[in-house]
């Protein structure tokens, strides 16, 4: 249930955060001896201002919509999945293995869904491990997902080098023609591909699942208060395992963008960082699928535009990294401030943020502190 006041407060939060970021970014630009208006207008005209640039924004946004959804879905169940990076790597690798091992001439209607599914299973399996450890042994998923990122990257590199990478390269053989997603003719030269449709469909699916199904209600109940949910008859263990698996599967779908839609093979270090970017996108998007898509478009614009700035005016790419970090910090600070102010009032008043998405994860942390 999202009340109007919640929406308004979220909008104010994000607005303040973005305003602070623009001011901080302008100061930085002035320090490097350039004009903020010139740099910001280039950032916009180089991305949303032309077909290639906009295609690149979509291409960059696609994987972080998926990892953002992965992080947000786990958040809703009170779990903090920092393992989207590793799940994304395993999923992409699995997608590529599917695409290379299918026989030539496999029709696209079979090859594409199958390879996406294989990637999601790969990511989901990796996600299920910290889920199981959390459900049965209380081992904290934050630690385990971080650790599994390293294990996943090393395992994939080893498997690739031993068995799958083409000679003297760090990439697999190309996938079959039938497994390739098409690019958009309207964005010539860009890497945008139809996996953006998959990402948006999954965002809608996650939203409908959480708000319109009984299981989704149970998952959110566990996120609210696992004890109460358990007393209400929800299987908390199964929910935790299921949520971590589903979260991993969403991250595992990233291979559709990089492997099926772009390079047509898996390459070591492909997409590095999009898993961590997903955390930022979920935070900025307030864990709501629509918010995540918007946040992913913003971050996609920044990373596509960052390269344009580096090429056209020589602004170092680190500038964009700093700007992204400022946005994240500003959002977190603004949200915390709004929450505290609201909380003081809310103690007496009707407490409007009860139903607010993004705050339901808090009892999960409380549960953990109890052991």
């Amino acid at each position: 249930m999202i009340t109007r006041s919640v929406v308004r407060r979220e909008a104010i939060t994000i607005g303040i955060a973005l305003a602070v970021s623009v001011v901080a970014g302008s100061l930085l630009i002035v320090l490097t001896g350039k004009s903020p208006t010139e740099v910001f207008s280039l950032l916009i005209s180089g991305t949303w201002g032309n077909a290639y640039g906009f295609g690149q924004v979509l291409f960059r946004a696609t994987p972080i919509i998926l990892t953002g959804l992965a992080v947000a879905l786990a958040f809703k169940v009170g779990l903090f999945n920092i393992g989207a990076e590793g799940q994304m790597i395993v999923g992409s690798f699995a997608t590529a293995l599917c695409g290379t091992s299918l026989p030539d001439g496999t029709p696209a209607v079979i090859a594409i869904p199958l390879c996406i599914a294989v990637g999601m299973v790969g990511g989901g399996l990796l996600g299920s491990i910290p889920g199981l450890l959390r459900a049965y042994y209380g081992a904290h998923e934050v630690i385990n997902t971080i650790m599994l990122n390293f294990i996943a990257a090393a395992l994939v590199l080893w498997l690739g080098n031993e068995f799958f990478f083409a000679r003297a390269t760090t990439r697999t053989e190309p996938i079959i023609e039938g497994a390739r997603l098409s690019n958009f003719d309207m964005f010539p030269g860009s890497n945008a591909n139809t996996s953006i449709v998959l990402a948006i469909l999954l965002a809608v699916a996650v939203h409908l699942f959480l708000t319109r199904t009984r299981r989704g209600y149970e998952w959110r109940a566990v996120g609210h208060n696992p004890r109460a949910a358990e007393n209400g008859g929800v299987n908390v263990r199964a929910t935790i395992i299921g949520a971590m698996t589903a979260s991993g599967a969403l991250a595992g779908a990233v291979g559709a963008n990089f492997v099926l839609g772009y390079k047509h093979y898996f390459e070591n270090d492909m997409g590095t960082g999009v898993g961590f970017m997903g955390i930022a996108v979920a935070l900025l998007g307030r864990n709501h699928p629509a918010g995540i898509i918007a946040a992913a478009l913003l971050f996609g614009t920044l990373s596509a535009g960052g390269l344009t700035l580096a090429v056209s005016v020589g602004v170092p790419k680190d500038f964009i990294s700093v700007l992204q970090a400022v946005i994240i910090l500003a959002v977190a600070a603004a949200a915390a401030t709004m929450y505290l102010r609201q909380h003081k009032k809310g103690d007496q008043a009707g407490d409007p943020q009860k139903g607010k998405p993004g705050q339901q994860n808090q009892p999960g942390k409380g549960d953990n502190a109890d052991g």
Binding site: T32, G33, Y52, Q56, F59, F80, I82, E85, V142, L157, W158, N161, E162, A168, T169, T170, G189, N191, F258, Y262, K263, E267, N268, D269, M270, G271, T272, G273, V274, F276, I279, A280, L283, S303, A304, L307, T308, A310, V311, S312, G314, P316, K317, D318, S321, Q324, A325, I328, L329, A332, A335, A336, Y339, L340, H343, Q359, N361, Q362, K365, G366
Partner: protein
């Protein structure tokens, strides 16, 4: 009430993650000789001199690696001051940025665009076809099965590392007092095998009964970034009786130099002059002149003499060599240098054929 705590965790996690991702880039900035915006300043006046615009995209790691990328950077700066070209350099982050950076540099009207490293091979070949009027150059280009498929506006720049390694082998074979020398390689791939093959041939040329101990740090990319393994391998080779070790292993070589310091034995650097990594113990270094090759390619383009296809740089082209300067002149006697220079002449003349596999 625990909400702020949750945000603290979230922010911390993102901060840690971002810091982790950025480490490479910032490390590069720390070591780089000049600030990042310096390329712009001298570029403006010199642009008028030639009007030629050069773009360059670095390999993984970016500037400040004290080796490959830095060497490319020196070549670029050299061309800027000497030829008056306008330069634009880009350090790509995640993999897909390599391609996007090449494409945008080409679209922004650069006359010549470099990709530094074999990883660029596929992308630069594709983009060269999309931009037939722009010229492209790829350092360490991987030769396709059919070299005639290389686009007419692309040059693949390759080095005969085995020739430089042959000279290094000869130096090691002369200097060793115990007739045993070592080799530490990074990742076991054909590129590194070229170094080993040339080195072995050089040692055997001057010292047919010398023994060569050889080891690789691994079969993954990490083998170029594993100093502990390098130290372990070097220590075992020093203990196994060798008194000179040549490495071709990137960062892993730091471990080889540590072992040399510990054992007070000789080590030989690679790619750039590595004397300063271990001043006590570096005998010489095999030079891979990425800077010379970048400069020469720009110079040819400015003069309208750009050539496509594959170009190889060995001793004859000054593309490889060894270090002999004030730092190590008391370590290599005039006699040794004369002999090695004699070998250089023979290789250039084709009297000695250096094996590469």
């Amino acid at each position: 009430m625990k909400q702020p705590f949750f945000f603290a965790i979230a922010v911390l996690a993102v901060a840690v993650a971002t810091a982790g991702c950025k480490k490479k880039e910032t490390a590069g900035q720390d070591n780089s000789p000049a600030g990042s915006q310096t390329p712009d300043k001298p570029a403006a006046p010199s642009a008028a001199k030639s009007g030629i615009k050069i773009g360059l995209v670095y390999d993984v790691g970016g500037r400040g690696d004290k080796s490959f990328n830095d060497s490319a950077y020196r070549g670029l700066k050299w061309a800027e001051t000497e030829l008056g070209v306008t330069i634009r350099e880009v350090e790509p982050g995640e993999g897909s940025e390599r391609e996007a950076a090449l494409r945008q540099l080409a679209a922004a009207g650069h006359d010549l665009v470099f990709g530094v490293g074999f990883l660029f091979t596929d992308d630069i070949t594709k983009i060269a076809r999309d931009f037939p009027k722009v010229k492209f150059a790829c350092v360490d280009y991987t030769v396709p099965d059919d070299p005639s498929t290389i686009p007419s506006n692309l040059v693949g720049l390759r080095f005969r590392e085995h020739e430089g390694s042959f000279l290094i082998g000869a130096i090691a074979g002369i200097i060793t007092k115990v007739k045993t020398v070592g080799f530490v390689g990074g990742m076991k791939i054909p590129l590194i095998r070229k170094f080993e093959a040339g080195y072995q041939a050089g040692v055997k040329h001057v010292c047919p009964d010398c023994k060569i101990l050889s080891a690789y740090a691994g079969t993954t990319g990490k083998a170029f970034n594993n100093p502990n393994k390098g130290q372990e391998l070097a220590l075992s080779q020093y203990e196994g009786g060798s008194d000179v070790i040549y490495h071709a292993s990137g960062k892993t070589g730091d471990g080889v130099f540590n072992a040399a310091k510990e054992k007070k034995k000789w080590a030989i650097g690679v790619d750039s002059d590595q004397f300063h990594v271990a001043p006590c113990c570096v005998l010489t270094s095999m030079l891979k002149r990425v800077d010379v090759v970048v400069f020469d390619t720009i110079k040819a383009t400015v003069a309208g003499e750009f050539r496509n296809g594959l170009q190889e740089f060995g001793l004859a082209e000054d593309g490889v060599g060894f270090v002999y300067d004030d730092n190590n002149k008391d370590r290599l006697s005039q006699d040794v240098v004369d002999r090695v220079n004699g070998l250089t002449k023979k290789i250039i003349a084709g009297e000695i054929k250096v094996p590469f596999e």
